[in-house]
């Protein structure tokens, strides 16, 4: 960001709800099916068809509103009229001046708070494929439409223009995605389009100035694209303003390969959509009892789950910076219950967090299915020194592949039996005797001498084919040196 300027960013996030059916009809809400196989008179806009609201979609919208600290309000549906074939009806049913959720906020891990202006319900559009420009069919000049997605329930979450950097916008999108997943309303898959982010960007000279003219960026398929496009767009606007030109309010398309935004169309004024109340739908008026019942089904939100893990690390002197990252990874992957279970069973919090963030996380799908009892048993053995770190990691790979198992039996089958203290001591004594020069230097100590601890540990590991516990070897070496 160029010094002397401030960027102002607001995000609009469309989130597909993971209901079984569409918002206003019983067609399956399914990604990736054969074109035009999940359609009916309602979502094809055939004359005489009537929409009926999906109760589950309403409850998921209320869950999102609750998770985003919104007021849940009586709401109505409007027709948003526009001329484009992605809705067969030529209008989209959306919520306009009376959205179901309003006036909320989302707190980010860095401590900043982003306002949520509204989170309203609407239906998704069909998918249009343009023939002719893609090169697939040369010279053609038409579009092909698949209405499977038409009518899929969406919640559009509109933030306040509260963000001041691309990093903050990325953090908001990441945290919002985690909240949507935790609320049970969405799978949060940006790559499948179930979460789509548009960014409104403007720039100004200082925080006290009125907002500048904004541009809306579309086609952001990842959090990384979001950050890159915002930085590009802010720089583009600053260059315009510094050369005495004006920013034109418009929608711009992010070109990921070229790394730039290009003008798509001038933003239509809101009144051009000719919104009017949808006469085929009645108002939605959730009573307090219903709102509370939905709120009661909400699981813990990511911020609470991160705080829960950080609390577990307090005994070990508090979370280090690396551990804060590990906590974020574990919560993002939904593996925090494994850590909590291990610590509750007496495993050290640092070990439980590290194994989960570093090893279990490499196959998070399997780790979420893993029987936590076997995971806890494995970490207990490693924590007690019955298994070395290397052995524990090897057994974890097997546990993840099998969905669980008895780590004691698995260790035995692999010959991972811990060495007895006597046997370890005699092996250490043996390598010490056979390397008298190195031992002498080790005993002299100092920086150079101490480094030889690694040399002896390596010899012991070699002699025991990795069965020795590294920490126990270090203790034994130290004991011999001091005696």
């Amino acid at each position: 960001m160029k010094p002397g300027w401030e960027m102002v960013v607001g995000l609009e996030v469309h989130c597909e709800l993971k209901t079984d059916t569409k918002l206003f009809c019983g067609c399956p809400n399914m990604f990736g099916d054969e074109p035009n196989t999940n359609v009916c008179p309602v979502c094809l806009g055939l004359p005489g068809s009537l929409p009926v609201l999906n109760q589950k979609a309403v409850e998921m919208a209320m869950a999102i509103g609750t998770a985003l600290n919104c007021e849940i309000r009586p709401s109505t549906f409007h027709r948003k009229n526009y001329f484009y074939p992605d809705q067969a009806k030529d209008y989209q049913i959306s919520q306009y001046d009376e959205p179901i959720n309003a006036n909320g906020h989302l707190d980010l891990p860095d401590g900043s708070r982003v306002g949520i202006e509204r989170a309203h319900m609407e239906e998704d559009t069909g998918k249009t494929t343009h023939a002719g420009t893609s090169g697939r069919i040369h010279g053609a000049d038409y579009s092909l439409v698949d209405y499977n997605r038409s009518g899929v329930p969406l919640v559009e979450i509109v933030s306040a223009p509260d963000m001041r950097s691309s990093a903050q916008a990325r953090a908001y999108a990441t945290e919002l995605r985690a909240v949507l997943v935790a609320s049970g309303a969405s799978d949060g898959k940006m790559e499948e389009g179930s979460m789509r982010v548009d960014a409104n960007v403007s720039v100004r000279r200082s925080a006290g100035d009125p907002f500048g003219t904004r541009c809306e960026i579309k086609n952001l398929n990842s959090v990384r694209s979001l950050g890159r496009s915002i930085d590009y767009e802010a720089d583009r606007q600053i260059a315009l303003l510094e050369s005495g030109e004006a920013v034109v309010q418009q929608t711009r398309h992010w070109d990921e390969d070229a790394g730039r935004t290009v003008a798509l169309r001038s933003k239509e004024e809101a009144y051009d959509y000719r919104y009017f109340l949808e006469p085929d739908l009645v108002p939605l008026v959730p009573d307090a009892e219903w709102v509370e019942a939905v709120a009661a089904t909400l699981g813990m939100m990511p911020a609470t789950r991160r705080a829960r893990l950080i609390d577990l690390l307090i005994d070990g002197g508090g979370a280090s910076e690396a551990q804060v990252d590990q906590v974020a990874t574990v919560v993002d992957l939904g593996l925090d219950d494994l850590v909590v279970a291990a610590v509750a069973a007496g495993v050290g919090s640092g070990l439980a967090l590290a194994r989960t963030a570093n090893e279990a996380a490499t196959d998070a799908d399997a780790a979420r299915r893993l029987d936590s009892g076997s995971y806890v048993a494995l970490l207990t053995m490693e924590g007690a020194g019955t298994l070395t770190a290397t052995q524990a990691k090897a057994l974890l790979v097997d546990l993840l592949a099998d969905g669980g198992g008895d780590p004691v039996a698995m260790a035995k089958a692999r010959g991972f039996e811990a060495m007895s203290e006597d046997s370890l001591a005699s092996t250490v004594a043996e390598v010490v005797v056979t390397h008298p020069d190195e031992w002498e230097r080790y005993c002299e100590g100092g920086e150079k001498g101490d480094k030889l601890a690694g040399f002896f540990t390596g010899l012991v590991m070699k002699a025991t084919r990795g069965r020795a516990n590294g920490k126990a070897v270090a203790v034994e070496l130290e004991r011999l040196r001091g005696s």
Partner: protein, 102 residues
């Protein structure tokens, strides 16, 4: 047609272009008059003193009409596509629309 707030010929031309309707000069005159009469009726209602009357979203005093989230069979694809004037790759084939503004 020049009184303030009354629908103008330009308003009708604008709305027609948003809906991609191509109206002749005669049609513009005709519909401007007809639509203005409809809107005049709305202004009659708007001129009433409705202080203390709650806004009404719908003629029926019914709220929360909902259906369970259960899949119901839709239409057979061949039947659906047979209704379309043009089809390609099991998709509706439509004239290309560039942007959204006329």
């Amino acid at each position: 047609m020049t009184e303030p707030g009354r629908l103008t010929r330009d308003d009708v031309a604008h709305v027609a272009s948003l809906a991609r309707l191509h109206l002749s000069d005669e049609e513009l005159d005709l519909f401007t008059g007809q639509l203005a009469e409809v809107l005049d009726h709305a202004s009659d209602v708007a001129s009433l003193d409705l202080a203390g009357v709650a806004p009404t979203a719908h003629a029926m005093a019914v709220v929360n009409v909902l259906r369970p989230d259960e899949v119901r069979p839709g239409m057979d694809r061949e039947e659906v596509l047979a209704q379309a004037p043009s089809v390609e790759d099991h998709r509706f084939r439509v004239p290309r629309i560039l942007g959204e503004a006329p």
